[in-house]
């Protein structure tokens, strides 16, 4: 029989203290405020929540935010993946400086980012004036919001794809070439499936960050209901006018969306390093004879 160090195991003081600290921290800083938000929102009962939810300007702001954030995520995912590829694979002069500059949008206060865009695309600037002359609205319009969101979330996809590309090395690509695969086949069958987790993770991060963006958006696009009022701006406006119920309801919706994204990011994406979607992609890229031939033609 083995002797069990029962005593030590039961009363590991440091473990208990550390555990309590972490639990207390999470409770105090995260769970309690969330609980309070839920409590306040339902302060006027379910009907108040329903009324706020069906409030057309609240609905508009939610729709606008989700649409523009999705657009931002798509644009930045494509641009970010290409940028990461170039940064890792191509010998560029001044690559180190370029690489360091990628992080700038994270370092700049969002209000400053917004101001920069405002100055650049405002009616008084050359670019802004020219665009306005052609009838293209940027500032105080949805394109301005997308620009702000793109600017603020620019690093996410690059920084999540870059390490995977670096880690991947060139051997897999070389192996594919020797086995007869052309440039496009190599990209779709080998490179893309390998970096897909990074792309998806970058997409999710970009999307959730764009959903939440306030400072730069309000600076570039202002607070025009039914035109440029995003969810975060809406919440701010409702608080300003003392309408806690509306603010709380939209906040709760954003919160639920964030939870879903977080769940997706942490659970679905990381549960299996190479999930079904990747295998599907690899298979689709493979294209058996006859099947998927259109894709094949397009890919090569």
């Amino acid at each position: 029989m083995r002797e069990q160090p029962l005593f030590r195991r039961r009363y590991d003081l440091s473990k208990m203290v550390m555990g309590s600290v972490v639990i207390g921290y999470v409770l105090l800083l995260i769970l309690l405020p969330i609980g309070q938000l839920v409590h306040s929102t339902f302060g006027q009962g379910w009907s108040g929540f329903q009324r706020a939810l069906l409030n057309p300007s609240a609905l508009f702001s939610m729709k606008l935010t989700i649409t523009l954030a999705l657009l931002t995520a798509v644009i930045n995912t494509v641009a970010g993946t290409i940028s990461a590829y170039v940064l890792v694979r191509y010998p560029l002069p001044g690559k180190k400086i370029l690489n360091a500059m990628v992080d700038l949008p994270f370092a700049i206060p969002t209000a400053v980012s917004g101001l920069m865009l405002l100055v650049m695309f405002g009616p008084k600037s050359i670019l802004g004036g020219a665009l306005q002359a052609k009838g293209i609205e940027v500032v105080y319009a949805p394109p301005g919001i997308v620009l702000a969101m793109i600017f603020v979330t620019f690093p996410f996809v690059i920084r999540s794809v870059q390490p995977i590309l670096e880690d991947m090395g060139v051997e897999m690509v070389e192996a594919a070439k020797i086995l007869g695969a052309g440039r496009w086949q190599t990209f779709f069958r080998v490179v893309l499936p390998t970096i897909l987790p990074g792309i998806l993770s970058g997409f999710t991060l970009t999307f959730s960050r764009a959903l939440a963006e306030f400072g730069s958006v309000v600076m570039v696009a202002g607070n025009i209901p039914y035109k440029t009022q995003t969810a975060a701006v809406f919440i701010y406006g409702e608080i300003e006018s003392g309408n806690l119920n509306n603010a709380g309801t939209v906040s709760l919706l954003l919160l639920i969306l964030s939870f879903l994204l977080l769940f997706y990011q942490n659970y679905l994406l990381n549960r299996q390093r190479f999930g079904w979607w990747q295998r599907l992609l690899a298979k689709a890229g493979m294209g058996r004879k006859g099947k998927n031939s259109e894709f094949e033609n397009w890919a090569i």
Binding site: E171, A175, K177, G180, T194, K289
Partner: protein, 369 residues
């Protein structure tokens, strides 16, 4: 497929001359080793044959057809990378099937071919595993099967056993060797391990600083090295730089007759196994004192000091080495030695005046001083 390389050079963008003016010819069906120290240009050479590097100048012919301007896709070559470079998101089956899928073979053929290869490399039942779930040896065999799937005419292996632990490496070597012989596929592998090259290659190309030092069978390379570098890289040597005096090497008691002119500088090379130890006696020409003995399993490595403070290392059988101790006095006989002038070998001399070495089990007889 026979391979011919003519005056091939590779200068990298940073000015590094990885391969310089190399020419050689390899025969069909043979297993060739590119042997040399790291930075010798052997991997660059292999990658140029595969089409992964573009030569700066020179030509490569496979079966008489010039290929150096062709992309790797069109060379019908199988390549096993040092780190295997398996597709991490594909299971074993899909990895092996990759080349066949690219060729758009029908699925029945692919299934049959892959399962045949899996049987060959002894991995049946692991079709669904991802590369992450395999051991190093298994990964290497998947890489090999993947390279062989499209029936290449030439198989290239870049340091194929470097990442595998010693025990398994020996088994895999023999296994790869058998597979190669069975399939009769012309193969080249890169290694810095001379033992590996001697063991499984039909022919060895020794590289040094981007140039070929020698090309020959393992026996030729080992027994008649053409340069002191080859002698030292393939096997161990005692190496002495000396002059010529009255037709003899100017090495004190190691006085060998040579045909060089007096005053010339020569390099004398003696392999440790060509030094045998006999009981000390005043009549022996070369007398020595044991400095140190090291047990190396199959034999003892004995470091000795001759008169004039010249040192020499001998490999002696276990039965003999066990009775030797530091400061023992013994006598030596040199069974064979080689002399080189500059970089080229001039002659190999077996000294006929010395008595043939008899039984080596007369030891232990060393006398303590």
């Amino acid at each position: 497929m026979s391979i011919e390389v003519r005056k091939l050079s590779k200068i990298f963008a940073d000015g590094h001359r990885a391969v310089q003016d190399v020419s050689f010819e390899l025969l069909e069906g043979e297993m060739t080793a590119f042997l040399g120290p790291s930075g010798g240009g052997k991997t660059t050479m292999l990658r140029m044959i595969a089409g992964l590097e573009t030569p700066s100048s020179g030509e490569i012919y496979l079966s008489g057809r010039r290929v150096d301007y062709l992309p790797p896709q069109e060379r019908q070559i199988g390549f096993v990378f040092q780190n295997y470079a398996l597709f991490k998101h594909m299971n074993v089956f899909e990895n092996i099937a990759f080349g066949l899928r690219v060729q758009k073979r029908n699925s029945a053929y692919i299934r049959e071919r892959v399962s045949e290869l899996l049987r060959r490399v002894d991995l049946k039942g692991l079709e669904q595993r991802l590369p992450d779930q395999l051991s190093g040896g298994q990964r290497q065999r998947v890489a090999l099967a993947r390279a062989l799937a499209t029936e290449p005419r030439l198989l290239l292996l870049d340091e194929p056993f470097a990442a595998i632990d010693a025990q398994l490496r020996k088994e895999l070597r023999a296994w790869v060797r058998n597979l190669q012989k069975e399939m009769g596929i012309t193969s080249i592998f890169v290694t810095h391990d001379q033992q590996e090259a001697l063991e499984i290659a039909d022919r060895i190309v020794v590289f040094k600083q981007g140039q070929v030092e020698q090309l020959g069978t393992p026996q030729e390379v080992y027994n008649s090295p053409q340069t002191p570098f080859v002698a030292g890289f393939v096997g161990e040597i005692n190496r002495y730089q000396t002059g010529v005096k009255n037709g003899f090497t100017d090495l004190g008691v190691l006085k060998f007759p040579i045909k060089h002119q007096d005053g010339r500088n020569v390099i004398v090379v003696i392999r440790p196994e060509d030094v045998s130890l006999v009981p000390w006696s005043a009549q022996e020409d070369i007398q020595a004192m044991v400095l140190q003995t090291t047990f190396l399993g199959e034999f003892f490595k004995v470091d000795l000091e001759l008169a004039d403070l010249i040192r020499i290392t001998a490999h002696v059988p276990k039965s003999q080495g066990i009775g030797l101790h530091p400061k023992d006095r013994v006598a030596l006989r040199i069974k064979s030695f080689k002399t080189f002038d500059g970089l080229s070998q001039l002659e190999t001399v077996f000294d006929p005046t010395r008595r043939a070495v008899q039984e080596e089990s007369i030891f232990p007889v060393g006398e303590a001083v």
